[in-house]
Symmetry: C2
Subunit: 681 residues, 2 copies
Amino acid sequence: MDEKKKYLSASGYSLRGSNYSINIPQDGIINPGYRGSSEFMLDEEEPKSTTEQIKEIPSKLKKKAQNAFRKKNIYKRIPIFNWLPKYSKEDAIGDVIAGITVGLTVIPQALAYAGIAHLPAAYGLYGSFLGCFIYIFLGSCKDVPMGPTAIQSLATKGSWQKAVILCFLTGCIELLMGIFGLGFLIDFVSGPVSSGFTSAVALIIFTSQVKDIFGIESSGGTFVQMWRSIAENMHAVRIGDTIMGLSCIVVLLLMREIPRKWKFHHLNFANGNKLFQLLPNIKIGPKNDDEKNAFHKIINKTLWLVGTARNAIIVVIGGAIAAYFYNKGNTDLLIMIGEIPAGLPSFQIPPFSIPAVVNETTGEIIEEGLNFMDLISELGSGLVVIPLIALLENIAICKAFANGKTVDATQELIAIGTANIANSFVQGYPGTGALSRGAVNNASGVRTPMGSLYTGILVILSLLFFTPYFFYIPKAGLAGIIIAAVIFMVEVRVVKPMWRSKKTDLIPGLAAFIACLVLPLEIGILVGIGLNILFILYHASRPKIHMEKAITPNKGIKYLLLTPDRCLIFPSVDYVRNLINKQGLRTQVPVVIDCTHIYGADFTAAKVVETLVKDFNTRRQPIIFFNLKPSVCGVFEGVSLDFKLYYDYEALELAIEELNIIGSQNSLHPQINRIATAESA
Amino acid sequence: MDEKKKYLSASGYSLRGSNYSINIPQDGIINPGYRGSSEFMLDEEEPKSTTEQIKEIPSKLKKKAQNAFRKKNIYKRIPIFNWLPKYSKEDAIGDVIAGITVGLTVIPQALAYAGIAHLPAAYGLYGSFLGCFIYIFLGSCKDVPMGPTAIQSLATKGSWQKAVILCFLTGCIELLMGIFGLGFLIDFVSGPVSSGFTSAVALIIFTSQVKDIFGIESSGGTFVQMWRSIAENMHAVRIGDTIMGLSCIVVLLLMREIPRKWKFHHLNFANGNKLFQLLPNIKIGPKNDDEKNAFHKIINKTLWLVGTARNAIIVVIGGAIAAYFYNKGNTDLLIMIGEIPAGLPSFQIPPFSIPAVVNETTGEIIEEGLNFMDLISELGSGLVVIPLIALLENIAICKAFANGKTVDATQELIAIGTANIANSFVQGYPGTGALSRGAVNNASGVRTPMGSLYTGILVILSLLFFTPYFFYIPKAGLAGIIIAAVIFMVEVRVVKPMWRSKKTDLIPGLAAFIACLVLPLEIGILVGIGLNILFILYHASRPKIHMEKAITPNKGIKYLLLTPDRCLIFPSVDYVRNLINKQGLRTQVPVVIDCTHIYGADFTAAKVVETLVKDFNTRRQPIIFFNLKPSVCGVFEGVSLDFKLYYDYEALELAIEELNIIGSQNSLHPQINRIATAESA
């Protein structure tokens, strides 16, 4: 143990909190690998005795309880306190513009997404205002527009009662996950799995909308069933809906390009002529912006607005066309979304049970009622998966616009959880921040979460005054809006960098994609995550060991230097023991285990190390540990004190020389050689 | 990229296969951490182009197929070829003695264990001979006695038909696991979980035998139910069985101590007197053995045999007592195992379906028949867990006596799988190597797997000739045998070293223990394993990052050196990104990421590193990578080429100095400082 202390002092081990120490190895002092590993930032505390630890529990709990009500923590958990006092006029202008733009996007989206969830269109709007207001207070990210999303709609199933109770339960689970700090769970959804899942969802949503484009009926739950049903019903294609649907898609895709690729530019030719021209939006730098006059700017802004509010424009135009034909008596040309109850939804407790449906004349039960437990068991694994996906979508927005600032997943869970609970009281179905609207929000120059206020107000106004006009909105048009949005969610573009970067990552991605297409959605994503976790586990269980044959400088004694490249935990230790034994038997020289990269170990590892040392002692072959991290050393010493450990190259090599002299005096056991020969044969 | 090459040559990167190179950092050359990490033994191959890799697939498959039929591989898969040609007279003597001793142990154990599985006693014997013979050919470990075990018996449920079909299916799954090389699965059962599971099983088996000790009836599946039922029936305790049962336990525990603690010694006193004395077996070294004469040796051997064959002795004496009273007309004093059909079981195909039980007079169906699929769904998760536990028990024996040699889990799976399939044709139920008999086998001096031959023959002889005598064996005696064996399986002794070594490892151990007691056994062990895997995942997702503030030697520019301690895979990268960003924002100096300990990365990591670099570039804060392993560098470069990388301290610090000059010319963005202030506030 003296060796350890010697190293600690010799290497100038700096204490925690020391400022700007120079840590370059000094000439002449050989100071390998182990630089400072005991100075880790996180949970590498000074070891305390057990009784001390137990004694500290009450005071720690008290501290935690006190902390929860500290000003700093309240500010962290109710973020509006941070930004509202500093709210400026510029902030207000930015938020009004962004909020209204997002409102123009969310209204057609909400009407359309309700269709994905097999709910009447109004329910989409019901979930698009109260949650927005809640998010203003609790949300930590200015760009998140709380409301229905394509993926959440797809995951929602059954009657409106089930959707509303699902919204309530989803909210509760999200809130609980937030309170218990389970936001880290999304870390276990890797990039490839997330891409595979999103792509599969996009294809499923696309498929579910094809029937509305052609105005046909279709059925089936899975991807394949839906396409089969579509193929069977293609004979009943309705010409009016098809034209409306396809032209909506084409127009939307073209309009989508306007704010991205085109801008109105002012060209100065060499001969003095001026030309206003719609040019591809190639960035020419800020200089040009200054040259533009108010007229150019207005045109450019209008173009941008047309592109951004394209969904609303399509709905208005499509509705106008449908209304024209309908009122001319051509009522069967287009399928429309039909009657939407005017006014706001009633504020009521979510339906914790669904009463049986009874035929009033005969008294027969048409549909069995469901109590609360029935509902929960019917929703099943969705209750785990939907909150997880909601968080995933939400955090994706936060990260996209965070500019490197930390995203607080816990706070986001609390915000969307509370928002969903609130929504369930106004008959909304589960929602979260939608990436498409988040991008609109950001591009419209939102400054604080206050933007959601104007979005919510716009939705309320539409429910109060515009529902009679919603009657005419053609379903094919809404389907077109969805299709034009989701086709860009199929992430083909990630395949190439993945292939270049790490090919094996394609496997979990592809598996998640296929599993989500052929299995129920929530099972599919769990399969993808599970497979990916298997990769980590395999990773953890098969460390690599670097082998080096070396000789001591003084007496030229050969020895083997083995360096495992990661920590020793139970899935890997037997494998490591076998490898070390095998190499030891083959070479018959002293073996040094360089533990520089071993940052952790567990009880199983300690037991196996004990066995390993015994194996070597039986063979009278020296085994020496080198540069073992003190915390890992403690784990090993809990099981056995019988191992040699050095922290200094010179001491190590002296020890090898001494040991080897003892070893050669005893001479190697004859039996050992036999084993060795048998092994290498 | 020049930097990389420079390092590669400057540091004397030795090629693979170089012999006995000295690899001590030379004085004056600063050569930190990165020693040789590209020279790993395993799967760290030279990078090949994709087309090359695809082209190689057919030839690789061909090679694999050829290898399977190579002599070396056949010898590996049928291990008898290795040892039979060298079989000597000494081997034969050792095997005969050990085989017969094990036989004397297995017969009473088999009769008793059948009771744990709720099967007639004969079925225990049916599973104790054919598998033994198979193991001689396929087994790789001389100490494994194939046959019923306490744990396997507990996991077996239902009628004899179900037990036999379970034996067949278990065997098939074991064989398939062996063929597909899934032996590594047991690596995921950690020491603590294994201890918790074994202890729970011991308590359950103990509980299941209490009723036979007292001669009462009891019912219930779980631990708690069984004890409640025993308490309710305690009024019906039978005096004869209780005396027999308790005295069997006491006698067995005393006999167990004989070969362990006592030996017959020959003492020479100083006055010339000699004294033969039964002394505690304190090892006095080989010298004393030489002094003993033949008489001492015989007595010592007898004592040892009495201790080892104690189960057989108890059965014989217990049976004799029972027979005495029974034939004196006192037929109700002791419950005996009763009629056992004489002779060997018939050799027949396992029952792939169970016909319905019909009342012959009324034609009513008493019990529904089960087809093959019904059987499989009824056996359910047991089909996964039983093979896993079988392998666990088996490998435990192999490891206990391997003396550091590699244990071939694949071969053991093939051996016990085939043995179980064979056993199912003679109405055996699932078995594996039993640790208790394995210890007897080893202590009796077994030399090769041939010992099993004599064990099997002894079982066959007992079935042919001794079944009439088995009638008298008292059930309380068998229960005593089981109890005296399993109480030592409760591993209380591992708690203390676990506590000393790594306290958190107690959690999965305790969880597995409790889960196995309160839940069905196979669910219980899965819960334990699952919890333990969660620990690994948490481990993988929360790396520690060492932080060091440093200054460059020439110009004294401050920078931050951050060293993550393990690989970057998806559950951890966002966490690492947040930490690095936070520290970067707080200090506002150049940040160097020392990647010495990063041995692997995936696509998600590469994406996050890309974002991290962008975050820093937006802030115009320099970020530099240091000492990145070439394979990890490849993963990063697949996504983005835009990062600075150095392999040399001097070059690194020069770069920092240059970057910082550029940085100070531009001056830090005013916006950055605002963010930084907001962050630190």
